[in-house]
Amino acid sequence: MRLPRRALLQGAAALGLGCRPRAAPPGRQLVRLWYTYGGKNRLVLEQLVAGFNAAQAEHWVQPVFQGDYYEGLAKLRTALAAGAAPALSHVVGEVIPYLAEAGVLEPLATRPGVDQLDLLPALGQAGTWRGGGQRPLVCLPFNRSTPIAFYDADVFEREGIAPPESWQALLEAARWLSTTDASGARRYGFACPIDWWFWAALVGQAGGELIEADGRISLGGVAGIKALELWQRMVNEDRSMKPPPGRDYNAWEATNQDFLAGRSVMIWTSTAFVRYLEDNARFNVRAAKLPGFVRRAVPTGGTHWILLRAAPEPEKAGAWQFLRYLHEPAQVARWATSTGYIPTTQSAVRRLTEAGHYAEHPNDAVALAQLDVAQPWPWSPRLFQLQREIIQPRLEAAVLGRQSPRAVMQDAVRLAQREP
C-alpha cells in the first residue's frame, strides 16, 4: 500500500507541532519559565502561574518542568550554550555567584518596582551572601528555607525530654531515645542526611566560616572537624543517629520516610517539609530550632529566581512582571502556607501574622524565628564546586568510612586551596 504524499506531509507536520512548545495566545508575549519543583510545590507554582496569566492580558508565562535542582541547572547551562535559554528560572543559592561571575544573569536593580520589594533581609541577596548587598542585584528569593529539627512530640512528652538546645543535649537526647526492640529493629533518636547543608550548619554552630574574610578557603578550620566528629560519634560510637542510605535528595527523602515510619524520633531536614510531615505523620510533629555549640547558626537554602541575560528583552520584561506578581503579599503567603517554605517578604509575614497563621501553625513560627541566626554564605564562584567536589564526597568518607575527621578536612582544604 502506498501512502499518499499529502498524508505523509500531514503526519510530519503533526509530529512537528507535537514537539513544538505551546505558543502564547494571540497578542500576548510568551515568557518561558523553567522550574524544578515536583509534587505539591509544582502544583502550587502552576496555580500561581495560572493566576498571573488570568490576571493580565499582556504576557503568557509557560512553565516547563526540568527535573530536580541539579538536572535543571545542567539543562539551563546547555540551553545557554545553545542560545536557547528561557527568560526565567530558579537555581540553588550555591550557584548564584558562579552564574553571576559568568555574566549570564540579568541585573535586576533597574527593573521597575524593585525598590518596593520588602524582602526579609536574611533571605534576599543582601542577607544570603556576605557582601551580597554591595553587588549588583541578580536574584530574588522565592522558595527559601533553613535546616530545622522536627521531632515526634508524643515520644518526647512520654520520655519527658525537651528539644535539645546544645550539641551536648543533642547527644544525650539521641542516646536516650535510641532503642532496639525484641525483633532487633532499631529506633534511632536522631537522623540527618550526611549532606553539605547540614554540615555547614554545624560548622556555623561551631563558630567557623567556609571562606575567611580575606578570601582564604578554610572550610571552617577546627569547626569543620568538630562537625564531622559530632556525626562520627553519633553514628559509629553511640549508634544514636541513622545515616540514611543514598545521596543528595534521595537521602533527604529517606530521612523523612524514617521519621514518618517511627524509625527515628528526631530529624534535621528542611523547613520546606513542614506541611508534608504534618500532613503525613500519625503523631504530633513539632519543630525546634537547631541546637548551638559556641553559637546558634543555620545556613539558608532553597532557590532564587534569576532572569537570563541572553533572553529577548520583551520576554525578560514579562518575566519581571511575573516576579513582581509572585512577590505580592497574597502570592508569597499562598506559596508559603501551601508548601512550607519561609515567606520572603515582610508584608507577607505581617499578613500571615494578622490572619493568625503563626498561632495556628507554631512550626512555621519556629522556622521564621530561626532566621535571626541565619548565616550568610561567602560570595564565591567556587562555592558550588566546594560543595559538590570537595566537601560532599568527604563527609561520607569520615562518617561512614570512619576516616579521621582531621585528615579528611586537611585533605579537603588542601584540594580546595590548590584547585581552580
Partner: protein, 298 residues
Amino acid sequence: MKLLSPRRPTDPYLLLLPTLLILGCFFFYPLLAAGKLSLYSWDLLTPPRFVGLDNYRALWSEGLLLHSLELTLVFSLGVVTASTILGLALALLLNRPGRLAAFARASIFSAYIVSWVSVALLWLWILDADGGALNAALQRLGLPGWRWLSDPRLALPSLAAVTVWKLAGYAMILYLAGLQDVPAHLLEAAALDGAGRWQRFRHVTWPLLRPTTAFVTSTGAIASFQVFDVVRVMTQGGPMDHTNVLVYAIYEQIFLNLRVGRASALVVVFFLVLLGLTLWQLRLWLRREGAEGQSPPA
C-alpha cells in the same frame, strides 16, 4: 549469482549510506567531539580553555579513573558470571513440560521486562536496612541484618545481585532455546554409550550451548557496562563512591559537577576500554574459528 551482483559498483555503498549517516551523527561525531572536549576545561558557560591532558591527569591523580574502571570491571564480571550460571541452572531445571514449569519460566522472565527504575525501587524497599523485607526475614531466622546499600563493602555486591536478578531470566530464556536445539539423538547415543547425566551435559549439551553462552555473556557484558539506572535510584554512586561506576561517574561529572572536560575524558576512556574488550573477544573468536577449521574431521 548474477542477480546478487550490484548493477553499479557504487550501489552497495549507497545502501550503506543511511547506516553510515546514523552512525556518523550519533556515534562518530559525538565520540570525536568528546575526544576534543576532553582536552578542554569547559563549564558550558565560560569559553572553553585548552588544558591538554590535564583532565586525564586530574582523573588519574584523584583516583577516580582507576576507581571507576575497577568498580565497573568487577561489577560486570560478577554480573555476567552470576547471571550466566544462574540462567543456565534455571534453564536446565525448567526445561520440561508442564504448567508449573511454564509458570515458573514466565515468572522468572517477567523481571527482565520490568523497567530498571521499577526494579530499583522494588529492591530499594527490600534492601532497606531498617524496614526492608530481607533484613526482616533474616531477623526472623535469628540472623543479624545488614546495611545492604549503605555499607561500602556491600553496596556494589547488592547492586550486582539486583542486576543478576533482572538479567537471569533473559539468560534462562536464551539457554532454554539453546537446549531445545540440542539434538535428542546425540543425548540418546551418549546415554547408550553409558554416559551419566553429568557426562552428557559436559560432553554433549555444554559444547552445543557455546554459541548461546557467547551471546549471553556478550549481551550481559554490554548491559552491565552500561549500568546506570540502579545506581542512580539506589545509591547515587555512594556510599563513599563505592558504586560510582563509569557511566554514573560520567553523569556525575557533567550534570552534577559541571565539568564537561572531565566527563569527556571519562567517555574516551570508557570507549577505549570497550574497544579493547571487543577486540580481545574478536581475537579469541577468530583464533577458535581458525583452530576448528584446521582440526581434522572426526
